[in-house]
Symmetry: C2
Amino acid sequence: MPIQLELKRIIINEIDEDQVIVLNEVDGERSLPIVIGQFEAVSIDRRVKQLSTPRPLTHDLIVNAIELSGGEIQDVLINDLREHTYFAQLRVRQAGELIEIDCRPSDAVAVAVTARVPIYVNESVLGDALDE
Amino acid sequence: MPIQLELKRIIINEIDEDQVIVLNEVDGERSLPIVIGQFEAVSIDRRVKQLSTPRPLTHDLIVNAIELSGGEIQDVLINDLREHTYFAQLRVRQAGELIEIDCRPSDAVAVAVTARVPIYVNESVLGDALDE
């Protein structure tokens, strides 16, 4: 059963390329830190702060492409952890069907904050992450 | 009448944030240099070199999202230049209709090299760019 998470912190580190976002359980105490790239961290940060731009940025483009194609982003799911690497999916409703689009968690979270949809993680992934 | 361009050079500048891509006319001599961000330049460079990654990167995600939604990317078009800023569109065929999705030229070019579709520019944009 997937567990809902919310974006709690974005830790921007100017010295290093790798940045960290922390996702907290909505109905619990556990948290999931994920290392992401600088571009994705800045992109998520801009969206959380609702900074506007004259042209659609990359994650706006993803949301617009899906919506103009007739899809509705239902949620995003961090669905797997293999060899210290997280995997995720955008879950899109289109013509009554559920389409799962593979992506990295950083893109999934950036899309979730852009489209204002929930973020979920599989229980097994959250458990494995905390055991590492 | 749109003019077809091809990606000629990616100039990666490690000192500065701004990078340059140069698009050349396929049937002519004119070229169009566009200043883009570092992330987009690296993303285009990776695609041109066909470097593979274990997880879909952001521009793979855009292409996959459109294709899994039943769309076919026809081409990309750099359609406008206003106040020194270029505007572009992804042009997607879906169920016999043409959908135009606004984006930045850097995302358009990254999508074009990922999906292997042509890049076009409006004649007026190319003319205005060369007059600047």
